[in-house]
Symmetry: C2
Subunit: 391 residues, 2 copies
C-alpha cells in the first residue's frame, strides 16, 4: 500500500472508528416515532391509496421546503417523470441534464419519450455549470417561434434539469438567468438535496417544478418514495391527478380523463415519512458535524480534498465526497479497493451518462469538468449516526 492509501485509510479510521465489521455508505435511522406512526397506520387499516398520512406528509414537506405544494409519489424517478411531463416535455424533445448524475435523471427523460442531452458540471458545485451551458446554448441552439431547437438534430429543447449533486446546490441564480434567457423551463432534480438551501431557499423550489427522493439511501426514507414540489396550484393539481389514474371524484362512477399512472405513495410509506421528517433537523445537524470531521482531517492531506458546500449555500451533506487533486481512475480504484477491503463502504461517482450504452448516441456538450470529476470523486460513509463515531 502506498502512502496515499495509508493516509486515506487512516483518516477514515480516525473519523469513523473501526468497522465492526462494515460501515455502510448511508444507513437510515429509526429512533423517532417510526414505530408509532407505522403501527397507527396498520391499525387504521388505511395502508394504501387513501389515508391521513399522505396528506400529512405532503403538508409537512411543503412547510419544510417552503414550496406551496408537495405531491407525495412512489419514488424520485416517478416524480421526475411526471414533473418533466408537466413542464411540457413531449416525445422527441431533448432535455438538458448533467452528464454527471445518477441514471434515474436520464431514465425519467426517456420515460417521457424524450432524449437526454448531456451538459458539463463545474468543480465548485459538482452540478451544471451555468456559464458553460450559456456558451453551449449559444453555439448549438436556435430560437424560433416554436421555441428553442437543437440546430444539429432539429429537435426541440424542452427543459433543463439542474441536479444538486450529493446535496450541494447548483448555482441557481446563474442557472435561472440562462434558463430565462433561452425561455427554458427548469425542473430541479433535488432527489439528493432534501434539507439543502441556496441563498436560504430550499433546493427544488426554484424551478417550475422540483423533485425529491426518499429511497433507503437518502437523508430520510419512506422505504421507497418521492415528491413533486411546485408553487403552481394548477401544476400541483395536475401532478396529483396524473399520478392517481386521473379519476374524477364520484361516489361510484369510474370516469378517468387522461392516460395516467399509479404513482401514488402508499399511506404506509407516508406514515414512515412523517416520522422521518420530524427528525430531519437532527439528522442534518449530525451530518454536518460528520462533514466537519471529514473536512478537518482531510485538510492536511496531500493529494485529496474534501468537497465543501458551495458559497451562499447550505448543503445537507447527503454523501460526503473526496476529490483527488490529480484525477486518476487508477488511483481512485486503488483507494476504493483499500477502503472497501477494510470495511468502509466507499464509491466512485457515477459513470458519466453518455458512456452508458443506451445513452451513448445522445447529444452531449463538451464535458471536460465532468470527465475530470468522474476520475476524482469518492463518496465516503455519511450516515448521521457516524458523527463522533471515531472519538
Amino acid at each position: 500500500m502506498d502512502k496515499i492509501e495509508q493516509n486515506f485509510l487512516h483518516a477514515l479510521q480516525t473519523v469513523l472508528g473501526q468497522p465492526n465489521p462494515f460501515v455502510p455508505l448511508h444507513e437510515p435511522e429509526f429512533m423517532g416515532n417510526e414505530w408509532e406512526r407505522v403501527k397507527d397506520c396498520l391499525d387504521s387499516t388505511f395502508v394504501s391509496s387513501i389515508g391521513k398520512y399522505v396528506d400529512h406528509f405532503e403538508v409537512m414537506l411543503a412547510e419544510y421546503t417552503g414550496a406551496k405544494y408537495a405531491v407525495a409519489l412512489v419514488n424520485g424517478t416517478a416524480a421526475l417523470h411526471i414533473a418533466l411531463l408537466l413542464a411540457g416535455v413531449k416525445p422527441g424533445d431533448e432535455v438538458l441534464i448533467p452528464a454527471l448524475s445518477f441514471v434515474a435523471t436520464a431514465n425519467a427523460v426517456s420515460h417521457c419519450g424524450a432524449i437526454p442531452h448531456f451538459i458539463d458540471s463545474e468543480f465548485e458545485t459538482l452540478g451544471i455549470d451555468p456559464f458553460a451551458l450559456n456558451d453551449y446554448l449559444n453555439d448549438f441552439s436556435l430560437s424560433s417561434s416554436e421555441g428553442l431547437t437543437n440546430r444539429f438534430t432539429g429537435r426541440r429543447i424542452a427543459a433543463v434539469v439542474p441536479m444538486h449533486t450529493y446535496g450541494h446546490p447548483v448555482d441557481m441564480t446563474s442557472l435561472l438567468d440562462v434558463a430565462n434567457r433561452y425561455h427554458l423551463p427548469v425542473v430541479e432534480d433535488a432527489a439528493e438535496s432534501l434539507g439543502s438551501r441556496y441563498q436560504g431557499q430550499h433546493t427544488g423550489t426554484f424551478g417550475r417544478l422540483g423533485t425529491l427522493s426518499f429511497n433507503g439511501n437518502k437523508v430520510i426514507t419512506t422505504g421507497g418514495g418521492g415528491a413533486i414540489l411546485t408553487n403552481d396550484a394548477e401544476l400541483a393539481q395536475q401532478a396529483k391527478h396524473l399520478t392517481t389514474t386521473a379519476k374524477h371524484p364520484h361516489r361510484w362512477e369510474f370516469f378517468h380523463d387522461a392516460v395516467a399512472w399509479n404513482y401514488r405513495l402508499p399511506n404506509l410509506n407516508a406514515a414512515l415519512g412523517c416520522a422521518q421528517l420530524e427528525q430531519l433537523p437532527d439528522f442534518l445537524h449530525r451530518k454536518r458535524l460528520l462533514a466537519q470531521q471529514y473536512q478537518e482531517i482531510y485538510r492536511e492531506m496531500e493529494g485529496i480534498d474534501f468537497v465543501v458546500e458551495p458559497a451562499n449555500s447550505q448543503s445537507n451533506y447527503w454523501l460526503n465526497t473526496l476529490e483527488l487533486r490529480q484525477p486518476s481512475f487508477e488511483m481512485r480504484d486503488r483507494l476504493l479497493t483499500a477502503a472497501n477491503d477494510a470495511g468502509y463502504q466507499c464509491r466512485p461517482t457515477w459513470k458519466l451518462l453518455h458512456k452508458l450504452p443506451m445513452y451513448a448516441d445522445c447529444p452531449h456538450a463538451p464535458l471536460p469538468v465532468a470527465e475530470q470529476l468522474e476520475a476524482s470523486l469518492i463518496n465516503v460513509p455519511s450516515s448521521a449516526k457516524l458523527a463522533g463515531a471515531g472519538i
Copy 2:
C-alpha cells in the same frame, strides 16, 4: 322506493347486518403477523431496495401460485407495463384488451407507447370471449411474415391480455387456443385474481407472463404493490433487471445497460405482504362463505342474479357481483343510490374503456356483451370479515 330496491336492500342487510355506519366495498384485515413482520423490517433498517422480505415474498408468491418465478413490484400497473414490454410490445403496436376492465389495463398499454384495442366479454366469466375474439381476428387481422397486423390500421397486433374480472377466471383453454392460432403472446392481467384457479391452475400462470396487484382494495395488500409471474427464467431475470435500473452488480461501479425503471417493491411493503400472504387461505375461505351467503339470498330474487364462478374454475370472489337481468343504467343507479345511501358501499362496473376520452379513438370490436354488462353489474361489499356478519 320500488319493490326491487327494497328487496335488494333487504338482502344486503340480511347478509351484512346493519351498517355501523358504513360497510366498505373491500377492506384489508391485519390480524396475523403484520405488525411483527413490519416491526422486524423497521428494526433491521432494511426498509428499501434490499432486504430479505422482498426475496421471501417472491418465493412465497411463486410457491403459492405455482409460477416458477415471481418478481415483486411497486404495483399492478407497473407490473403490467413491464410484462407487456417483455412480451415484445413496441411503440405503435396494438394490444388486445377487454373493454370491460379497470383503466390501468389500458394505461399499461399506453405506457409502452402502444394502442389498446378493445375486445368483448362473455356473460359467464365477465372476461374476454375467446370465440368472439376468434371471429373478430378472422375479420380484421392479417397474418404475414412480420406477424399479425390490423388490416384497417396497418399496425402490428402484439399481444392479448385476458383479465380475470373480479376474480372470475377467463376461459383460458379457449383463449390460449385462439392466441396460439394467431401466434399472439398472452399476458394475463391477474390483478384481481390472486387465489383464483382455472382447472386447478392459478390464474396468471397460463400466459407468457401474468401480473398481480396488492393494492389496498385487493385480496391481500402491501399498501401498494404488484408482481410479475412467469415460468421463463430469462423473462424473470429481465423483469428484475428492468425494474431495478438495469444495474450490473459490482462492488462500486455504476454500470447500467438499458433504459430502465425504479419499479421495485420496497422491503417494508414486502414485509406486510409476507404476513398477508400467510393468511390468504383463510381470507379465501371466508370470502367464499360470504359469496355463498349472497348467492343464497339472491337466488330467490326477481330481476337480480348473483354472479357465480365459471365452470371448471375456482374464483377468489374478490368482489361479489350482482347482475340485473334487464340491463338498465337507470335501475342500476337507483339500486346504487339506495345501497350507498343506506351505508353499504356498492359500485357499478367500470365505464367501458372505449368510452373514456383518451381511449375514444382506439380501435374496438363490436361490444354487445360488454355494453350489457356495463348496464347490469353491481359490486357489493366483499371483505372476508363480512362472512357471517348478518347472522
